[in-house]
Symmetry: C2
């Protein structure tokens, strides 16, 4: 008989002992397993153009324009609906991307290596705020910025990281950032300042062009989400280390494509369990309301999967100015997550809870039994392509996917 | 009759409305009012060589070696005891310095301007950890590092800040850092990362020498106290803005020289009220104990004077790993300080206390009436010259100085 507790302990220990190091920056087609010239990766579980949300479609169009494969919406749509360009989840290629998460072959990506277990994970570069591809914007200024990031900043980041044999320890960075008011998903302010400070001497060392070095450092330092993408890839590397443990009921993927929320479970291989996404509740930027909100979108829920983000909100009371609620709500969010997880993190701790480890490793059994789905912090995209971010808030996955997963688990393990 | 409440409101409002901007870096003799070639500034109230503590003497010796005026302890001592070199408090020259605070004419200093009221304040550059002048070390490596800071880093910082007309808003930086787990005195980790991130593009812009730019950025980024000195000068500029308000009982200076703790009061001009310092209680570095501790030393209590530091410990629960105690103790420290202060800060807020303003403006009447002296976070120096930091902890000023000040106040204002 399967020892579920033992399997879960193994899974979550592997997640916690994974040590994700940022090793470099390279072009997606050169490093992401299975990447090919006619493939776009996207956030969440599998999706077709026909079922894709506004921001997902906008990001697909933008990525194809960026690649020089399309010149407008129609030509892009045709490439995808004809099957000439294929869509696959980032998660099926050891990658993750925030919001739409669209990653095309020419894009530069961060390379994270889990030096404990050897697996790697990838994520694209963060574009900052305003009209950005990941929120479904695809106008010329969006593409121009992406090209600058890819052609100017990307090679400098690659050179800078190449000078640094040890890489940047993202688990250590996160542990520090959680003591500095970050929760690692929607609030990555401290982490981004640490990241910029660690990159600064490397960038200054390798760049002969003063203007470019200054521009890159300003771009990184002014963006409180600079570190989000390497953090997500680090969480992916940690979660993947806990995946495929026979008999484990621990969730190793939570991801949304704007249409469906999908999870995968350690002991259930690569099967997705999906259901329609909820719409986040939160605070909207001036001029926008809940009417404008897209459904929940993005791979950034990999942070909650790894024990941070919404699960670590008690570490980040100032986030309530951004996602709504009070510091007490933030504390309660973390306390509730202890109910549905199997461990307290060894390395991610919360000073205000007397340095208690963050709740880590969602157990599908507990979610279903207690009727408590995970809590997620998230950005909110406009429901139409081309607009961008309209707010930030809180959301939960649909209960149905945990119930489906539990049934699949019963079928696989308990019907012998 | 004096309206004390009104006077205190004026004093503390001026402190809070002061907006200290880091405007530049220059040589002390060129910018600090009253600086002269035979003058050393030091922390705390006035002190003579004869009464000076070990770390203060060590720092004086080191500064005179740095200036090329002495070559060893004996020659330095002779210069000071003969009166050839004079000692005056930093505080009497619009300046502040951490620990021994010794600032000599050739040293580079940060220039802070309070753009609300126009007054300026100054502080030297932070040396980082280990054997450093401010803790009384004066060996060759200490002097070599000071020379590098002064001759290599200082001019780059000066050039970098000169490119940036707006300067760096230290009040805004502190407000942000208090939401990131800093209290601004003993924990300046977030602030130092913000500071490094803001300086990085400026430094990259002005430095043609890649190695030097990289070395400076690494020096700043690796030092979680990089921003302490500009923060202290900013607090000095804020506190000075509240000084000399007729009838005010608000404390505008708290400073220690290792022998005496001195305060000055807004309505009592430039008179010092002093008494022997206490010895901090805290955590010691490996190999050291309370036996090794110097008496309380440094101008860094300007942070508590301005409403941060020990007064804002509730914002910085992770500091207890450094100064001892529990997160609840940190919370209690802040709550207690509301008892003896006249305002809640408008710009410095504590997320965990539902964004309540930090307790600001110590009222000597409340201190004496309630028998509650201010709480201070501090580094602990070795009592002998030449050793350096041995720990960090908590301390309070002697009650006697508040009683003296209150008597002086009564004499000045209530005997008419």
């Amino acid at each position: 008989m399967i020892d579920i507790e033992q399997a879960n302990e193994t899974a979550v220990n592997r997640m916690m002992e994974a040590r994700p190091i940022l090793k470099g920056v390279a072009t997606a087609r050169d490093v992401i397993p299975g990447m090919r010239d006619n493939l776009l990766l996207h956030a969440g579980p599998p999706i077709t153009w026909e079922r894709a949300s506004g921001p997902m479609r906008g990001a697909i169009v933008g990525a194809l324009i960026f690649e020089g494969l399309a010149h407008d919406w129609e030509s892009a749509e045709k490439l995808v609906t004809s099957g000439e360009i294929e869509l696959e989840p980032c998660h099926e290629h050891n990658a993750v991307g925030p919001m739409a998460g669209v990653t095309s072959p020419s894009m530069k990506v961060y390379i994270i290596e889990n030096v404990t277990h050897g697996n790697k994970a990838y994520s694209n570069l963060n574009e900052g705020y305003g009209k950005v591809l990941r929120y479904g914007a695809y106008s010329e200024d969006v593409i121009t910025k992406l090209r600058w990031m890819n052609d100017e900043m990307g090679p400098v980041l690659a050179d800078a990281l190449a000078t640094n044999e040890d890489g940047i320890d993202i688990r250590a960075l996160l542990a520090e950032a959680l003591h500095m008011g970050d929760e690692g998903h929607n609030r990555n302010k401290a982490g981004s300042f640490i990241f910029t400070s660690k990159l600064a001497p490397l960038i200054a060392q390798v760049t002969k062009n003063n203007d470019l070095a200054a521009k890159i450092l300003k771009f990184l330092g002014d963006n409180a989400l600079s570190v989000l993408n390497p953090v997500m890839a680090a969480c992916k590397a940690m979660a993947d280390a806990g995946h495929n443990i026979e008999g484990s009921t621990v969730v190793t993927t939570m991801a949304r494509n704007g249409t469906d929320f999908g999870i995968r479970v350690s002991g259930l291989g690569n099967q997705w369990f999906t259901a329609p996404v909820e719409t986040p509740q939160g605070l909207y930027f001036s001029g926008f309301t809940a009417e404008d909100a897209s459904g929940d979108i993005g791979d950034s829920t990999i942070t909650e999967t790894a024990g941070i983000g919404g699960f670590a909100m008690a570490a980040a009371p100032a986030i309530v100015t951004f996602v709504s609620g009070t510091p007490q709500d933030a504390l309660n969010a973390t306390l509730e997550m202890y109910e549905i997880t199997v461990a307290e993190h060894k390395y991610f701790t919360i000073p205000y809870l007397d340095f208690r480890g963050t709740p880590t490793g969602v157990d599908i059994r507990k979610v279903v039994e207690l009727g408590i789905p995970p809590r997620i912090n998230t950005g909110i995209a406009h429901k139409e392509a081309g607009v961008g971010q309209v707010g930030a808030g809180l959301v939960r996955p649909p209960m149905a996917i945990f119930e489906q997963a539990l049934m699949a688990y019963a079928e696989k393990y308990l019907n012998d």
